[in-house]
């Protein structure tokens, strides 16, 4: 039996830019290696595919020890925006696309993008609030059925 990874499924549940990019880079990396990939956006992860919000994802400056900023300072007004600006600058240097362009690249690369039905209902969102490249709104059961094959890995972010 071949053990090669054939498909990577990602569940993005958070709205921070570092989590969204983790999902995007891994999903794109899979496609670049000839591996199928799909992302299921749920709960706060939905922010990454909402037309009005996707440009405004932020780095978490509170409760994020990796930032090396004391929590109280991280909570000051403007800190999140500053940290996000700095991170975006670094990402641009590495030629990492902004969120909207990254989603377009993923879709064009054949990565399927799904919104979680329960979360869409919970946040009172409509289809038109979400990006045009979205492949659809699924229940978790629908999403599991897409994992029903050999060589498939599922990752929660």
């Amino acid at each position: 039996m071949s053990t090669k990874v054939k498909k990577m499924l990602f569940i993005l549940s958070k709205a921070t830019i570092e989590n969204a990019y983790a999902a995007f880079v891994m999903a794109n990396g899979a496609r670049m290696e000839g591996i199928e990939s799909e992302i299921f956006f749920t709960f706060f992860g939905l922010e990454a595919i909402q037309k009005k919000k996707l440009e405004h994802l932020k780095v978490a400056t509170v409760g994020n020890p990796g930032m090396h900023i004391p929590t109280m300072i991280g909570g000051l007004p403007g800190m999140e925006a500053l940290a996000t600006k700095m991170m975006k600058k670094e990402m641009e240097k590495l030629d990492m696309p902004p969120v909207d362009e990254f989603l377009e690249i993923l879709s064009d690369s054949g990565c399927k993008l799904w919104a979680c039905k329960l979360a869409v209902d919970m946040f009172h969102l409509e289809r038109e609030d979400l990006i045009d490249d979205l492949d659809g709104i699924l229940t978790i059961g629908d999403f599991y059925s897409r994992a029903d094959q050999e060589g498939c890995q599922l990752l929660f972010i």
Partner: protein, 102 residues
């Protein structure tokens, strides 16, 4: 290691990438493509020309770069070089495999 292809001896690494670009020619590119089950068309060669141009300018290749290239869009790129397009296109072009994660 040595590899004999298109009546020429070339040096390749263990993944099959040419280690010396000066050994590359279009016939070799064609044969390498056949090994990847790709039949080269004019559009394929346009992409290879773009890749060579980037390589000569020492500019890194990325999928975003392909998008901006004006030569091809990402959907077409995946259609022309299925299952790992940048990996396959660079192999056919006779240049090293891109090291970028994006």
């Amino acid at each position: 290691m040595k590899k004999f292809i298109a009546n020429t001896e070339i040096d390749v690494n263990d993944e099959g990438y040419l280690t010396d670009f000066t050994q590359w020619n279009k016939d070799i590119g064609n044969e390498l493509a056949k090994e990847q089950e790709i039949e080269m068309t004019d559009k394929h060669w346009e992409v290879i020309d773009y890749i060579h141009d980037k390589y000569k300018k020492e500019e890194p290749l990325s999928i975003r770069g392909i998008k901006k290239s004006g030569v091809i869009n990402i959907k077409e790129f995946y259609a022309l070089f299925p299952a790992g397009p940048l990996k396959k296109a660079t192999l056919i072009a006779g240049i090293p495999k891109p090291k970028s994660c994006i």
